[in-house]
């Protein structure tokens, strides 16, 4: 985890951000992309990252944080090594996602929005994943798991050490 003395944004990241805003009339247009880039590297976006982005994008930290806190998938608090996002929208609800969620909460000993004490998993509800014909569904990191059954869950979790 970064400390306040070291910079969050590396030269390469800054170069990448500069590449992003090149195509737009104003630098601030790259704000969301830049936040995602930071998150790709650190899994979440710290206050310091917001402040450093403010310099690069010629925006105020307030403005960037206003954007960051608007969107679902920008994490402004640390998350675990793996983020489980279970769809809680209507088709998955009809198909019984709650059983899946309850099982995971019990097994991991955490509620939605929490991270396991060992920092392995963060559990989040998420809205419709666009795979309603194969409900219930969840993401773990970048992987989509569909047609979920409670029985498979242990095995799935094992794939994420």
């Amino acid at each position: 985890m970064e400390t306040s003395t070291s910079r969050v944004l590396t030269q390469e990241m800054i170069a990448e951000i500069q590449e992003m805003y090149k195509h737009f009339p104003v630098k601030s247009a790259a704000c969301i992309e830049a936040l995602k880039l930071v998150q790709k590297h650190y899994r979440w976006v710290s206050d310091q990252a917001v402040q450093e982005l403010a310099e690069v994008l010629e925006m105020s930290a307030d403005e960037i944080d206003g954007v960051a806190t608007f969107y679902n998938l920008i994490f402004r608090k640390p998350v675990g090594r793996h983020v489980i996002m279970i769809c809680d929208s209507v088709s998955c609800w009809v198909m019984g996602y709650e059983k899946i969620a309850d099982y995971l909460k019990k097994k991991l000993g955490i509620q939605f929005g929490e991270t396991t004490p060992d920092g392995r998993f963060t559990l989040l509800p998420i809205c419709c994943l666009g795979t309603c014909d194969r409900a219930p569904a969840m993401f773990i990191d970048e992987d989509l798991h569909r047609d979920l059954k409670v029985e498979q869950l242990d095995e799935i979790l094992e794939r994420y050490p």
Partner: protein, 423 residues
């Protein structure tokens, strides 16, 4: 039965590469379009009767014709393909993005030519990684082949296309909120007027169209207006992607003539209800449409017919309510979604939806009161179309108001029995 949008999508889960796309007639529509004037392209799309597949069903050619000419407002001008697809129960654009990205790209280039846009973007929801990868590679192929970039196919028309991945919010699908998101801002919707066709992305003329809408365009240009119209069973042209989710035998997605009946979709394609479950109702076009019930089962799924039974075509992806599922719980789930996804800009939605959600939760948990139903009547009227800043909250009211109309006794039972009868 012809399925121009989906017939060439490989069945092995891969996507249609440029070579294969070209072999089945790909980019012929673009070649045809570049022989015409922009206005002639718009007229063809108008004549074809293509209506927007994003939910509102606005006539596509008409939308394009509202863009001022280049003489009136010079470039830069923009086209945006709306691939946000976050409406609950909706999973149709995914197939087109993952299986046939060149079809979309071709449609975008033609649309851009028609409105003389020099830039276009695909605004893609998060979590469609495969679609993103396919799209990025396809764009690269299209640049290599000279379909994108400077002086496309020697026509003098130049165009750049790129992809933006959303950081996640349902409201980003609303076209003006989408524009704000693309500008790197909070995705609050914008005032209309001015409409994006006049002042959109960075204050420039901008057209926003759905992925499916744009995927239709190459076929209109390459195979002609009358062919396109003949695909449909109703006055509007083309095929439509219909999907079904819920307790049916074969949940899925099918390209069928526009105007196919609801019964046919449910019984023939989705295979009817799972054994032991009865059909009670359905949201015909995503989470923000009104319930229809068994008595409406023969309705033709098109833009003009569904309203006659008190609902909307929406996205054409059906969510089925069965007899073992609590309708109050289902509506509660939907209202929770809408309350969470409210952008927080206008009062009725920001405050009214959480109230709605809390009332539903109270009823579902057996803490409801009969007066609550009166409050629902007030809230649904309060958040009616035109009353809020954008269409999110009115959409959110559709499942609630129709559930109250068709399934009122379910609500009353919860209240009288102080519990959920389905639990």
């Amino acid at each position: 039965m012809e399925r121009p949008l989906t017939e060439h999508i490989p069945l092995d889960g891969s996507w249609l590469r440029l070579k294969d796309y070209e072999r089945v007639g790909g980019y012929q529509g673009l070649r045809e379009a570049l022989k015409l004037t922009p206005k002639e392209v718009i007229d063809r799309v108008k004549d074809a009767g293509l209506r927007g597949r994003g939910g509102a069903g606005f006539a596509t050619g008409l939308k394009w014709s509202l863009v001022p000419t280049v003489d009136q407002i010079p470039q830069p001008r923009y086209l945006i393909a709306n691939g946000d697809e976050m409406e609950p129960g909706t999973f149709k654009d995914r197939l087109l993005l993952e299986g046939n990205p060149h079809q979309l790209i071709e449609g975008m280039i033609i649309a851009s030519y028609a409105i003389q846009a020099d830039y276009s973007y695909v605004f893609l929801r998060w979590g469609y990684q495969f679609a993103e990868k396919a799209l990025q590679e396809a764009i690269h192929e299209a640049y290599q082949a000279g379909y994108l970039g400077k002086n496309i196919l020697g026509s003098g028309f130049s165009h750049e296309l790129s992809v933006h991945i959303s950081a996640g919010r349902y409201i980003c699908g609303e076209e003006t909120a989408l524009i704000n998101a693309l500008e790197g801002k909070r995705a609050n919707p914008r005032t209309k007027p001015p409409f994006p066709v006049v002042s959109g992305f960075f204050g420039r003329p901008t057209v926003v169209n759905n992925i499916e809408t744009l995927s239709n365009v190459p076929h209109i240009l390459s195979k002609g207006v009358s062919w396109y119209k003949s695909l449909s069973k109703c006055e509007d042209g083309g095929t439509k992607l219909y999907g079904v989710s819920g307790k049916v035998k074969k949940p899925g997605l099918w390209e069928l003539p526009l105007g196919t009946s609801f019964r046919e979709i449910l019984e023939e394609y989705a295979g009817g209800m799972l054994d032991g479950y009865q059909f009670r109702g359905a949201l015909p076009g995503g989470g923000s449409t009104d319930f229809i019930t068994a008595e409406h089962i023969d309705v033709a799924m098109d833009y003009n017919s569904v309203p006659k039974v008190g609902s909307r075509m929406g996205t054409g992806t059906v969510i089925v309510l069965d007899d073992k599922t609590c309708v109050v719980g289902m509506v509660l789930n939907l209202e929770h979604f809408f309350a969470q996804e409210s952008c927080g800009w206008c009062t009725p939605c920001r405050e009214g939806l959480p109230w709605t959600e809390k009332l539903l939760l109270a009823i579902e948990e057996g803490r409801g009161r009969m007066e609550d139903l009166k409050i629902f009547d007030d809230l649904t009227r309060y958040m009616a179309p035109g009353h809020t800043f954008c269409a999110l909250a009115p959409g959110a009211m559709e499942p609630l108001q129709s559930a109250l109309k068709h399934f009122r006794e379910d609500f009353e039972r919860h209240i009288h029995e102080h519990r959920c009868p389905w639990k």
